[in-house]
Symmetry: D2
Subunit: 375 residues, 4 copies
């Protein structure tokens, strides 16, 4: 074993970057290991919505609480990461608008509004006229929508790089094209990681390899039930933005990016690691986009892409230490909320590593709720 | 004037390349001037159909004759250009299939079949069963089609490069990023071309600048009514080809390229030089492709692009010398048939430059049929 | 004439964008015409140094004054353009360091320091130890350098887009792929511009087509002696930045960009529009970079590119109205200082168009100092 | 187990493609599993030399014999794969020239010439004048060279795709983005492969995962000592080719590709999977290229890239069945000769799978010569 680190982080996406950043900031000696390039998988593909309220709907439990807390961290993070890395990750807080095309949705939205208002989260119903007043290009076909002022958005690839590069500037070591083959597990503790090139000694290991986390652990008899869900997106360009808020509809969302880019997502196909964009997935999104925003017809086509999100059986991420192996931590399974949850995940994991007691109850996210150590 | 050439060719697309190749082969001192990169406009964008019969339908006049003759030149050209440049331009002679979705089309196809058979060109009607037997993935919704065994296809960008690079190997000089600003016209003859960097002396000039040909000539008072028609395309990928022949339908064609790539084209938008792919154009093509070849849904999306084709008032290209200015020749306005007509255009123009009398009557293509020299 | 505008701006680079932005902000009806894409030429290629002091050395005349004033505008512009377009153009004000390898340079630097200090511009001499203390990776071979705290840098492509997209958001119309063929000049005034697609009526025209400005005007008998100077650059990547300030040496500069990108430039080749990167130019830069910053050997190679800068006979840009044609303005010839001078150029031209008297004496930049109207 | 195949091939590079092609042609039901995209690693990066004689020098043993036999297969393969897939893989048989800059090399070359001539392989010494007569752009600084008429070259990425796509056309199933996690090994035989998505039942498995082969097998206790050697390359473009034969010198080779592209390679860095191009590696190649071919200075820079080649302890590939596990075959470790050896490797492995006795003695390539099954 050539080198020793306090913490080895496996996975160079937004979660790994955030953890590396928090740990480097607190003085830990960190190595971030990424088998491809930084942010080359779902962190690259994500549309970057911070949809704490829009994504979780009536599920106002622990994940909702976590999401709302994480969302609140972005404003400060903007300046912090820009100062260190120079990267502006494009935080926009112009709210989100979820519109209804069907009467059933109107009723459903009302329930969500009630549930979230009870939690003290601002959200309001807007009728068709009010929606159109706010976003004049949206189809007059809609039956109204709910407006969530607090749900913003960021550039996901740039947030991911901002975390990792800030971590590097603060002393973290980043190794790309470095595949972790197995962990060194001895006497109930993690002792290091084995890469294709060498064995790295460390005190703690954090697994944040997204949909690949389970694959990595399987040969060691550790079963982490994370499965892949492919999502396809496309983007168009205009000189003058078509919309200002993020707009959400049944099976389609539109996120207005800087300079007139509009990202439209996303399909969902479970249990595949195949990152190809399917003709069919794209054709479906194109159809939905036309219905929601007729003026998109005049936009310039840019490109299409796909990413593989990590999902879990109960839809909750795995955050915390493994019960059987000391020093082995997990931060994965964030599904469509990885970008949103990245700031708080970084802090929570850094707290756990430092032995701080968290003000957040992590029991719902325990990696042992499903984990079975085979032997 | 620093240098002297026999011929200066303006435009580095497939037409300019073909002319440069023929002239270099015959020993002329040639310079090819291209304002951007070789084959950077419609020669790059073309799907590469050699649709002598499919494109011209019942119009079995001089253009038809020219197209059929040009088509016959590809087989020999394949070996010739590959030997010189190393480039295989992907000539495929597996025929073309034009299918009908509407009863009117069935009648229309019958007329075409009659007209072309009279000209001695093989073409046959196939009923739905026969079409599906040939191309099993085509929609069963079709009412039959006509099969043209002689219409093949090539890779348009590679044909264009093969011409130009073969010309270079035979001594032609190629200058990219070289914009021609005006011609030197004296005493009824062309004497040279003025570029942004220098004046080049030459005996003949050939204008083959596609949709930009008229723009180039206008400041000199020469009116060449060529106008732009945008075409948008997209491509998908499969490992096993979905079709083997080129398939043509109302408003959509599909050209199977090497390695399982399928090119689908093309929209038509007149009077614009804007090369952006519009969302609307793409959405329309996507819809048509799904109808014609349902199995395309399973294919991988690759990309979309556009090109600007040069069209003329009567749909005939301009081929020949200008009446008023000796040594000023034109080879442009090929619209959707530039790839197909490139071999014969190269030979015809080289013949004219050498003073050979052509066996082809070029009066229908005369640049003076429309040309008005302003005074 | 279909449409009427207050001002037509010809050229979609950083200068055209800045003028469009200022005019749109002040309520003018503006159209920006770009023959290719926005920022597709030298504004895309520029390294983005704001080298008011480093570039101009002992020449502390009118251009120096202009440069210093323009430099001072960036801080405010950062927030302004980001608010409107969402684009952060990466303004960094960590100073510039110009280092000497030869004793002659040491003497030369001392003269510059004296001249600039007299003008009240901060600049200080640093010996080798002080330079290395500031930038530890710089070669110990250097003999010292001068440090200019006020000279910063930006991302040139993003600044260009931020201007244009902000202009669009404020109502300016942007037309890409729109080539201007000539101007409508009548009775001593400009009346419009003729594009390949239509004639656009307007009251004023601003020519900011960089190295192509002269080409555009020539057919109208207006001689604007701007000539092209090619510059080649390359970039490397590291996780942790190798330097923090921009570093300048004989024939080579290095600009540290966000996220660990390092841009190295730039060669100079006069009188060519050929944008290809030459092997030779690149090899020379690679050699110089190794000498200046030995640690660059460990960096990752990213890519190389080139741009075509507009230069004038006396090195001064053309800023102002044409003497003979009312309403015809020029803003070009900024050579290596286009990015730096873009903010003030936008304001000056907007002032002229509004008829405001400028506090800056523009006589040194007069387009009539060279301009000869042929008849 | 959802599906059953005769053979599962692990690795979609040139070796996997060749084996898939041979097996599909002989009627086997084959699945090719590739964790990324086809030909995405060293098969993409290779310069495509068929250097049977130039690479092996005086080592005229079993590998030499294999290489010479494989080289002889390319001519026929050209037509065969083009007919099926449409892909022309750019086979060029214009020989190879290895030049000497140092007197020691002259002596060394003479030994090679003797050894190879004894094996009946044509190779001749050329003095400086003869070399320059053949390749006029080569530096006059050289002391002569050896010319090998039989060593040609191909386009490595296209050969790889031609194999795989031809295999697909003949019925082989290709699955990209499909990572193999482990093998199903029971009762001394291979029974299937476990991917991230499912378990695939099959009778035979061929491991041709290049430098990743050992990593794949390690968790199963099978030790295959293949290690990675990074190679960096770059390319330049000219309209007229600078050289016609492949030219080899100390630490640098140049392969002229179709259309005037010239590929220059390659560095060697052992024991790294990091595919980044290093500034240092590139600078070294640039320096060597300038010395060997001074005229390269005038060429256009295109790009740089890297690949990871699989090397073994004794420099011999692993070809054959594993001693302990029936049905488990290896075809990896081809180092710099993967492209060259791909045709014969495909045939040899297909023969082994069919139970045919090979005319070639494979004992030197036995996977058991190093292999130690732990347990």
């Amino acid at each position: 074993m050539k080198s020793h680190y306090d913490v080895a982080i496996i996975g160079g996406g937004v979660i790994g970057g955030s953890i590396a950043y928090q740990l480097a900031k607190r003085g830990s000696k960190v190595v971030l290991l990424e088998k491809d390039r930084l942010a080359s998988q779902s962190s690259q593909a994500a549309a970057g919505m911070l949809g704490a309220q829009v994504e979780l709907g009536t599920e106002v439990g622990p994940l909702f609480e976590l999401a709302v807390k994480s969302r609140a961290m972005f404003r400060e993070l903007t300046g912090e990461l820009k100062d260190i890395s120079g990267i502006d990750f494009g935080f926009v807080d112009k709210g989100m608008l979820k519109v209804a095309f069907e009467p059933e949705q109107v009723a459903e939205f009302q329930e969500i509004i009630d549930a979230q208002q009870k939690m003290g989260q601002p959200v309001e119903w807007m009728n068709t006229t009010e929606v159109i007043a706010r976003e004049p290009e949206i189809s007059g076909e809609i039956l109204g929508g709910m407006y969530i002022p607090g749900d913003g958005q960021v550039s996901a690839p740039e947030l991911s790089l901002a975390f990792a590069k800030s971590a590097a500037a603060l002393g973290a070591e980043i190794r790309e094209h470095t595949e972790v083959l197995s962990l060194v597990l001895e006497q109930g503790s993690v002792k290091g990681v084995v890469t294709a090139e060498e064995t790295i000694s460390c005190d703690k290991v954090v697994i944040c390899a997204g949909a690949w986390s389970g694959i990595l652990l399987k040969p060691m008899g550790i079963d982490l039930p994370v499965y892949p869900v492919k999502g396809e997106c496309f983007s168009v360009l205009t000189h003058k933005p078509l919309i200002t808020s993020t707009v959400f509809s049944h099976g389609c969302y539109m996120v207005p990016k800087r300079g007139g880019r509009l990202v439209v997502g996303a399909t969902m196909k479970e249990h595949t690691y195949d990152r190809k964009v399917s003709f069919d997935g794209l054709a479906t999104l194109v159809e939905r986009a036309k219905r929601l925003l007729p003026q998109i017809r005049e936009a310039e086509w840019e490109k299409a892409w796909a990413g593989i999100r990590p999902q879990t059986g109960d839809g909750m991420p795995y955050l915390g230490e493994h019960g059987d192996w000391k020093g082995l931590l997990f931060a994965t399974g964030h599904f469509r909320n990885g970008i949103l949850l990245s700031p708080i995940t970084g802090c929570l994991i850094a707290d756990l590593i430092e032995g701080k007691t968290s003000e957040i109850n992590l029991s719902s996210f325990s990696p042992t709720r499903h984990l079975i150590v085979k032997q």
